[in-house]
Point group: C2
Chain length 283, copies 2
């Protein structure tokens, strides 16, 4: 297999020229849409069904017509095939065709898939050092959990502590609870039990987060619960790690310069999740 | 002067073909940008300086480089000239050039101006009937007041009570205070004093709202204050009206089917603000 070449599909059609959207696309005008960022390993999309399920949840909540399932599956397959490692970014918008905030009931969904080069995380990557962002996440149950296109809170947080100088930021919610990193979920292990913040008031319901919770429920990983966590729960944990589709399970070494306890669970999740020839749960 | 024809400018250049943005534009990806919707009457942009000031506030808060002032002014002038009535929609995005939430420090600002046909509100239009949306606005001081591109809360509210069947929706904030309409601010008159919700926790600092507050401060209109309002303040008001750049001051006749007291202040504001040949404050 070859290194991934960049490519783009518009409504399922490969486009050769610089791809573009109409200027009155509602994704641009209002962030009226959703996205998924997926890892491809050895020609297949990792956690594909979980990505599609989250997307379907968001489309239903917003009342956006889903892209034709056959075309979406075919396009994902075409984009993944033959690539040892790639990132696929899918953006689904309500399209154009209406003025003002009221969505047209027959708005033509417009969707884009980008394939981008991507290097999987190396086994020997250093653990992450986090900073706590001053950008707290507003509580909005109607948007919580979804990977929608309204992401200014994450942009502002990363403007405060930009990559690559800063690995990631920890974002608290408006009431001071731990919410998530800008592009990852957070897990804390303590006394053999995993806890991760709820995502029903803010934050994104990450697909690897869901996979970890499922592996926990099936007994493969320690028991896990969704919980209200505060920063002291992070400092007091036996192990802290982030989860994301592109970075896998990433151990956290420090928060705001204060060292955190290290463990081996994140590495175990990487080995379970990440197909390396020995199988895995990445279907 | 003629009726406005649709036209689009991209970074200050008139574009003839279907205008478009790059697919990796951050406005589309994250709603990383701002917009202004302006009314043109008799060849000039109403409340032009207030629109540009609000835009500048937002660009500074997000760290987005402003479009070149000369080019922006020239483009607005070109778009407005010769049009008896038109709507100008300006979208300013951080452009492309970076991956992930971290903005590139040298991101090339990309801006679009659309001119669209528009019919000014008629003097005899019926007052608005409002419904209270179940979509409450999250409290996010970092975004409050700005006309940014993260507008899913407004889209969801209008999906619940769509135009044109419903004139507008009243949106409360997460704590039950009156915030604004989906695309307008709210004023309540009682005992000769005007009150309008604060916009430092959610909502947009409307330009006509600012003009009304300024006309009040200069004694042209009754004294006005920003305040915490609850729905009972709307029901108990002597007069309620909405303000927006495109709809002017719009009296409200009813909220959720319950009639509201009517007054003449909104009409007075329309006459003051709306240039009809007798002058006005719309410069």
């Amino acid at each position: 297999m070859n290194a991934a070449a960049s490519a783009t599909w518009h409504n399922g059609q490969r486009v050769d020229a610089l791809p573009s959207l109409a200027v009155d696309n509602r994704g641009l005008a209002y962030g009226d849409g959703l996205f998924e960022t997926m890892a491809v390993r050895d020609g297949r999309v990792l956690l594909r069904e979980r990505h599609l399920a989250r997307l379907a949840t968001g489309l239903a909540r917003f009342g956006i017509a889903a892209p034709p399932a056959d075309a979406l599956a075919a396009t994902l397959g075409e984009a993944a095939a033959g690539n040892a490692a790639a990132c696929l970014k899918l953006i689904v918008t309500r399209g154009a065709g209406s003025r003002g905030y009221t969505p047209a009931t027959d708005a033509p969904t417009e969707w884009l898939l980008q394939r981008l080069p991507w290097s999987p995380p190396r086994q020997d990557r250093p653990p992450a050092a986090l900073r706590t962002s001053s950008v707290r996440l507003a509580l909005q149950p109607l948007l919580a959990g979804l990977k929608h296109l309204n992401r200014l809170e994450q942009v502002l947080a990363r403007r405060e502590f930009p990559a690559p100088a800063h690995d990631e930021v920890l974002q608290l919610d408006a009431e001071g609870r731990v919410a998530c990193a800008s592009a990852a979920n957070v897990f804390c292990l303590r006394d053999g039990r995993l806890r991760t913040p709820r995502v029903d008031r803010c934050g994104v319901a990450g697909v690897l987060r869901a996979e970890v919770l499922a592996l926990s429920a099936s007994g493969v990983l320690p028991p896990a619960t969704e919980a209200d966590l505060v920063p002291d729960d992070v400092y007091g944990a036996d192990e802290v790690f982030l989860t994301s589709s592109l970075r896998g399970a990433w151990p956290v070494a420090a928060l705001d310069g204060r060292p955190l306890s290290q463990g081996g669970l994140a590495s175990r999740i990487m080995a379970l999740w990440w197909p390396t020839g020995e199988g895995g749960h990445g279907s």
